[in-house]
Symmetry: C2
C-alpha cells in the first residue's frame, strides 16, 4: 500500500466503518480478475460505501490523496472494465452495498434503484407492481444497475425499448471532486444545458461514479409469441425482420445464429433439441408482444414459408418450449468455448449492412487466417452480432491468445470500420479495446473523448486506463 | 469589423465564394433580432457555407483568427439562442444553405438531413415514402434540423416518441478546431466511449456545429383519434392521462389549457368555436393513434364521463374539426399576447407533480404580485407547461419587462426548483436563462457544464454567452 493509500484509508475509517473497508487479500482476490478471466489486477483494498454521502466522501478523499478508484458492481464486464490496474495503484470502489430500490412507481412507470441493485432484483420489483423493466442479459443475476448504466448495457431485448441509454430517465452521480449531481428527477423535458445523464451513461465510470438511477418501466405485455425459423441466409432474415417491423411495433427480439452454432449447442447441452427439422444454414429466434399474440406470428411466418423466404418455422406452444428456444440462444457462448479458443468480437454495423457483413467478413477471416472458422450470431435486429474467429484445430491456446488474437482483432476491426460500424457495440471499451479505439478513431472523435475525460476527471482518478487514455497509450503506438 | 474578422473573411473568400459571405447590412439585419424580438445583436457578416467541408473551413478559420461564431438556422429560438452578441464581436454562421435531405430510407426508418433542412420539408419527404417524422411545433415552417437538434426541441407530439434527443440516431458535427466528427452511421448499439451525439443534442451550438443528422422515421399511423374534454381541475386531467396510458401505448398528445386561455383564443380568432358546451375550468386536447381509432377514445371518455372524472367531451368527427382543435391550442400564445405583457416561463416538473404545481404556483404568483394573472397551459403528458404571469392591467410594458419580469422570473424559477423541476423544459437556456441557470444550478452541475464547455471549445469561439459562461456571468453575481 502506498503512503497516499494508507493516509486515505485512515481518513475514511470514521466515515465508512469497518464494514466499508476490506483489506483482507482473500476477500479482495475474487474482484481482481474479470468475468472472462482474461485480465488480472491488484488492489490493496476495497472501499464499500453504503450511501451516496459515503461514496462522495470516498471520491473526495481519493481526489485529496490523488489515489485512483476503480468502480465495481457485479464485476461482469466483458472488456476488463472493472478490473483494477496490475500495479496496485488503484483501490476498488464497490457499489454493492448500495442496493436499495428507493422507489417503484407503477402509475408513472418509474423506479429509482441504487447502483448496487442486481438486475434480476429490479425485474422482480417491477413485476411485483405489474410492470416490467425490459432490459435483460445473461449476467442478470450478477450485473448491477450502476454497471449497466455505466456500460450502456444491451442484451437480447433491445429491439423495442433500446439499450440502457433509452431506459435511464436520470442519474445520481458523484463527480471527480466528490460533489454530488442529483439528476434523478424524472423530467420528460429538461434542457438545462448538456445532458449530464446521457454523458454518464456508457462512460464506464471514467467521468463520475453513478450511485443511483431513475429507470423507465413498461407495461407487462398481455401476449407473448415466440418462434424459431430456419432461413437460407442472413439477407432473407433481414427481409423477414422488415416484414415483422412493418406489421407490429412490438417486435422484441430478432436473433440470428448459424447452423454450426446450433450444432455446438445441441452437442454441449444434451437436453436441448433442434426446434425445426429442416436443415438450414441459418436460424432465427423471434419474439413479439403484439396484442394479437400467436396469430400475427403465424400469419407472418406462414406467408414467409409460402413465398419461400424461410424454409421452416415453429411457434413455441408453451412457455417451457419458448424457454428452451432461449436456452439454445443463451448457450452459444459456452458451447462454442468448448470447441476451442476463439477471438471474440462484439461489433455492430447498420442493420441493412449486417447480412452482407456476416458473410463477407467470415469469408475474409477464413481466407486470411487459414484453418480458422469464423461466424457471427446475435442481435440481427440491432445490427449487432458477436463475431467469433475460432483457432485452427490444434492451435496452442497461449500462442493463440498471445500472438494471433491481436492480429485477428485488428483484421476484424478494420472490416467493421470499413462497413461503417462500431468495434464496441454493447460491451464497451474497458481496457480490452482501448488501443483499438485509439487506432481506429478519427482525430475528431479521439480529441473529443480525451477533452471530455480531462475536463470531468482532471486528476485522472476515476477508472484510469479504461475507455480512453489521456495520452496516447503505449499499445497504440 | 475587427482586423481579425477582416483577415478571416479574406481567407474565406476563395472557400465560400461570393454567395457564402454576406456583408450587406440590410441583408444581415433580419438575423440580428430574435423570434420574440427581445434580443438585439450585431454582426458584421453572415457566413453561409454550402457543405460540411465549407463549415469545417469556416470553423478552422474562426479558431485561427480567434473570431467567435453564432450558428443560426431558422432563427426561431425562444431564448435568444441564435442572436449574436451586441458588440459585433461574432459572425453569424448560417446553416441555411446546407438544405439537402441526403437520404430517406423507408425500410430502415431513417433519414439523413442537413442542418438547414426546414422541419416541414422533412415532414413532406418522410410522407412521400409513407413514413412520418413525428416531432412538430409551431415554427415548423422556419425551424431547421440543425437548430432542432442543437436545442433538443420538443413540441406537442413528444409524448410517444420523445423530444429530438430520442429521434436523433447520429450527427455529423464540426468541432471547435474545425475537425469533422462523422457520427451519422445509424448504429443501434455503439459503445465507443462517451456518446458524442447525445452530447451535441441540446448543446445549443456551444460545443460544435451540427451539419447533418440521422433521424428516425416512424410508420404513418393507420388511425388517428382526436378529442376535446372539459375537466374540473388538473388533478382529474392527470388521472385521465394515466387511464389513457394504461390503455394504449399510442397516446401522442395530452394538452391542457385553462378556461381563460380558451376564452382568449375565442376572442382573438373569431372563426373558432368552443369545442364543448360545458363551462369548465380546464380543457384537454387528446390525440392517439391506437389502431382501434375512435372506439378507444369513445370508450375511455365515456367511462370518464360516467364516473364524473370529466364534465364534457367531444370527438373530432372530421379532420377539419381536429385541425380546429389544434388551431385553438396553437393560438394560445398569440391570443394571450393581445391581452397584455406577460412573463413567460417554459418549465417542467415530474408529471405527477404538475397538477398541484399549476394550481399552487399560480396562486403564489398572484398573491406575491397583486393584480397579475398567472396560469399554465401545454404538455401535461410531458410534465411541461408554459406558465405565463400577465401584468396587472395598465402596467407600462417597458416597466414590466425591464423591472418586473426579472423579479417574477426568479420567483417562478424558485418554485420550479422547489418542485424538483427544470427552468428550461423545451426552449433551452440561450442567453435568456443563462443567469438563472447559474443561480439555480448545484455546484456539481455548474462545474460539469463549464468543464465540458471549456474542454470542447477551449477558445470560446462557439456561440459565446449562450447556455453557460466560462466564468460566472456578471448577471449572476
Amino acid at each position: 500500500m502506498t503512503p497516499a493509500q494508507t493516509a486515505m484509508l485512515d481518513a475514511l475509517v470514521p466515515v465508512l466503518g469497518r464494514k466499508g473497508i476490506v483489506t483482507d487479500p482473500a476477500a479482495i482476490a475474487p474482484w481482481l480478475v474479470d468475468w472472462r478471466r482474461r485480465f488480472h489486477g491488484a488492489a490493496p483494498a476495497i472501499l464499500a460505501p453504503a450511501s451516496t454521502a459515503e461514496v462522495a466522501a470516498v471520491v473526495a478523499a481519493a481526489a485529496r490523496h490523488r489515489v485512483a478508484l476503480v468502480p465495481q458492481g457485479g464485476n461482469s464486464s466483458m472488456v476488463g472494465g472493472a478490473t483494477p490496474p496490475a500495479d496496485g495503484s488503484a483501490l476498488i470502489l464497490s457499489l454493492r452495498r448500495m442496493n436499495a430500490i428507493r422507489r417503484v412507481d407503477a402509475a408513472a412507470g418509474l423506479a429509482v434503484a441504487e447502483a448496487g441493485v442486481i438486475l434480476s432484483d429490479l425485474h422482480d420489483a417491477a413485476l411485483a407492481v405489474d410492470r416490467r423493466f425490459p432490459l435483460t442479459l445473461g449476467a442478470k443475476g450478477n450485473a448491477t444497475i450502476g454497471g449497466l448504466v455505466s456500460t450502456n448495457a444491451g442484451g437480447t431485448q433491445v429491439l423495442r425499448f433500446g439499450s440502457m441509454r433509452g431506459l435511464v430517465a436520470g442519474v445520481e452521480v458523484v463527480l471527480a471532486d466528490g460533489s454530488v449531481h442529483d439528476g434523478l428527477a424524472p423530467l420528460k423535458k429538461d434542457n438545462r444545458g448538456y445532458d449530464l445523464t446521457q454523458l454518464l451513461v456508457g462512460a464506464e465510470g471514467t467521468l463520475g461514479v453513478v450511485t443511483a438511477a431513475t429507470l423507465r418501466l413498461v407495461p407487462v405485455p398481455a401476449a407473448l409469441a415466440t418462434a424459431w425459423a430456419a432461413v437460407r441466409d442472413p439477407q432473407a432474415a433481414l427481409t423477414l425482420l422488415r416484414r415483422f417491423q412493418a406489421a407490429t411495433e412490438a417486435l422484441e427480439s430478432f436473433e440470428i445464429l448459424p447452423r454450426e452454432s446450433l450444432a455446438a449447442v445441441l452437442a454441449y447441452v444434451p437436453s436441448l433439441r433442434a426446434p425445426v427439422a429442416a436443415e438450414a444454414a441459418w436460424h432465427l429466434l423471434i419474439e413479439h408482444t403484439d396484442p394479437s399474440g400467436d396469430a400475427l406470428m403465424e400469419r407472418l411466418l406462414g406467408e414467409a414459408l409460402a413465398d419461400g423466404l424461410i424454409v421452416d418455422a415453429t411457434l413455441a406452444a408453451t412457455a417451457t418450449q419458448a424457454a428452451d428456444f432461449w436456452r439454445i440462444r443463451e448457450s452459444i457462448s459456452d458451447s462454442e468455448r468448448a470447441l476451442g479458443p476463439a477471438s471474440q468480437h462484439d461489433l455492430s454495423v447498420p442493420v441493412d449492412a449486417m447480412p452482407r457483413f456476416m458473410i463477407e467478413a467470415a469469408a475474409a477471416c477464413e481466407a486470411r487466417f487459414p484453418g480458422t472458422h469464423a461466424s457471427g450470431f446475435g442481435h440481427l435486429g440491432d445490427g449487432n452480432v458477436h463475431f467469433h474467429v475460432r483457432a485452427a484445430p490444434g492451435t496452442d491456446p497461449a500462442l493463440w491468445y498471445g500472438e494471433h488474437v491481436p492480429v485477428v482483432t485488428r483484421f476484424v476491426d478494420d472490416l467493421v470500420i470499413a462497413a461503417g460500424g462500431s468495434i464496441a457495440a454493447e460491451h464497451g471499451i474497458g481496457q480490452m479495446k482501448l488501443a483499438e479505439l485509439e487506432r481506429l478513431s478519427s482525430p475528431a472523435r479521439l480529441t473529443a473523448l480525451r477533452a471530455v475525460k480531462a475536463a470531468m476527471d482532471p486528476l485522472g482518478i476515476l477508472n484510469p486506463g479504461k475507455l480512453v487514455a489521456l495520452a496516447p497509450s503505449a499499445a497504440a503506438q
